[in-house]
Amino acid sequence: MFRNQYDTDVTTWSPTGRLFQVEYAMEAVKQGSAAIGLRSRSHVVLASVNKAQSELSSHQRKIFKVDDHIGVAIAGLTADGRVLSRYMRSESINHSFTYESPLPVGRLVVRLADKAQVCTQRSWKRPYGVGLLVGGLDESGAHLYYNCPSGNYFEYQAFAIGSRSQAAKTYLERRFKSFNESSREDLIKDAILAIRETLQGETLKSSLCTVSVLGVDEPFHFLDQESIQKVIDTFEKVPEEEEDGGEAEAEAAAAPAEQGGAGDQDVAPMEM
């Protein structure tokens, strides 16, 4: 993206009708490490890649429990993500307290989106630099939403955000039609496989990823390292047997170029 004279303020429109500050905020989401979400009729799985600042430090937490029936995975400015997670927890618990009933995910997501929109229309604020994958369960079934810094939100069967997420999205695009009927185990396996796509050939180890599940009779919780490793072992045993493995590497190489391409002046990311 080129610097230009309309991008200083979030309250300044460009002549082509764009808010550059908001688009730059969405760039920040692409810089964060990958986060993936997928859902079936009864379960939602959220997974993320563990990125650490250095070998000395621990990795950043990217998946948060909002309530027994809602979890969120973030990509981008994790500090903004932490603050928004706290807001979501607060909304959820206030609803539970007043109505003794879980907050419907769809309503939480709208409140979150409205909060993000406020920051795109105040001269003394900046947009949140974080994308949120909100997964949850309510009366109407399992849901996965993506909340954008722009204040938009979309519902997905499966989605990936963050760096090298295109590789994961391609994998998911091939398989998403079957997700609704997937078993819990298959869903988890697909999530881990999607994570593998974003690693660009690096060997997948359970220490590199965090996986969380929630479902109809299963409150939100993280899978422990052992369980993740077990799933990895079922497909990592035979290294290059799957066509997918070879394809994934080629795609992963193309991914960085694609990410740069998406930042073109012609396509406003807000509209995707």
Partner: protein, 254 residues
């Protein structure tokens, strides 16, 4: 007499330095001290298909039976029924709160809807918060409903005491109807048996509660929705010998 007792209970004195009359003028004027127009008991039971709730249509002004056409049972949203005894104006205020709640719920237009459990808990919060401010809504509320096959029946009092049960009664019903319900309620009552049971309770209340009138409504809520019956009267019998000459054995003729 009971009304005055309540009034006395609530009206305890707070020492105020009257030199500050201007500043403290509001201190006492914003609290509910006693009710004015009141409804008497509500009796409600769970039955096979949902909940049955009975109430009479009277509004008493102290000891005068002033209003005889007050509906004390109302439908809330698609899934709930609310009955109230106590101050009628406070009941109307609560209906306004719930109207707003249901409206906002409908505006979401997202396939989620408020069930009886949610409404009951919301009311509990409202009643308890008002009680904490020493400005209660002077009602005992009965909340019944059916949602997704689950039958729900609960009660909230003016001080925020809240619970669920298979059968509930307010006011005089606590003393006169509950024993009958405890003996005769069973799970899976048919609609006809449920109505008979409620009428039995209401008849006792009619004979013994001086603020009851012989004009009652029975409301039913099932998965399909709410129906409130037309007002009707119960048959009563006054030809007992003892009633013919009530002062005959003056020492305790009742």
């Amino acid at each position: 007499m009971l009304l005055i007792l309540w009034g006395v209970l609530i009206q305890f004195t707070i020492p105020i330095d009257n030199g500050d009359a201007l500043k403290n003028a509001e201190a006492d004027s914003q609290r509910t001290l006693y009710p004015y127009v009141t409804g008497t008991s509500i009796v409600a039971i769970k039955y096979k298909d949902g909940v049955l709730m009975a109430s009479d249509m009277g509004g008493s002004y102290g000891s005068t039976l002033r209003y005889k056409n007050i509906e004390r049972v109302k439908a809330i949203g698609k899934h709930s029924l609310l009955g109230a005894s106590g101050e009628i104006s406070d009941f109307q205020e609560i209906l306004r709160y719930l109207d707003e709640l249901v409206l906002n719920d409908n505006m979401w237009d997202d396939g989620n809807s408020l069930g009886p459990k949610e409404v009951h808990n919301y009311l509990t919060r409202v009643m308890y918060n008002r009680r904490n401010k020493f400005n209660p809504l002077w009602n005992t509320l009965v909340l019944g409903g059916v949602k997704n096959g689950e039958i729900y029946l609960g009660m909230v009092s003016m001080i925020g005491v809240s619970f669920e049960d298979n059968h509930v009664a307010t006011g005089f019903g606590n003393h006169l109807a509950r024993p009958i319900l405890r003996d005769e309620w069973r799970a899976d009552l048919s609609f006809e048996d449920g109505v008979k049971l409620l009428e039995k309770c209401m008849r006792v209340l009619l004979y013994r509660d001086r603020s009851a009138i012989n004009k009652l409504q029975i409301a039913k809520i099932t998965e399909e929705g709410v129906t409130v019956s037309q007002p009707y009267s119960l048959k009563t019998f006054w030809e007992f010998q003892a009633f013919h000459n009530p002062t005959a054995g003056a020492q305790g003729s009742w």
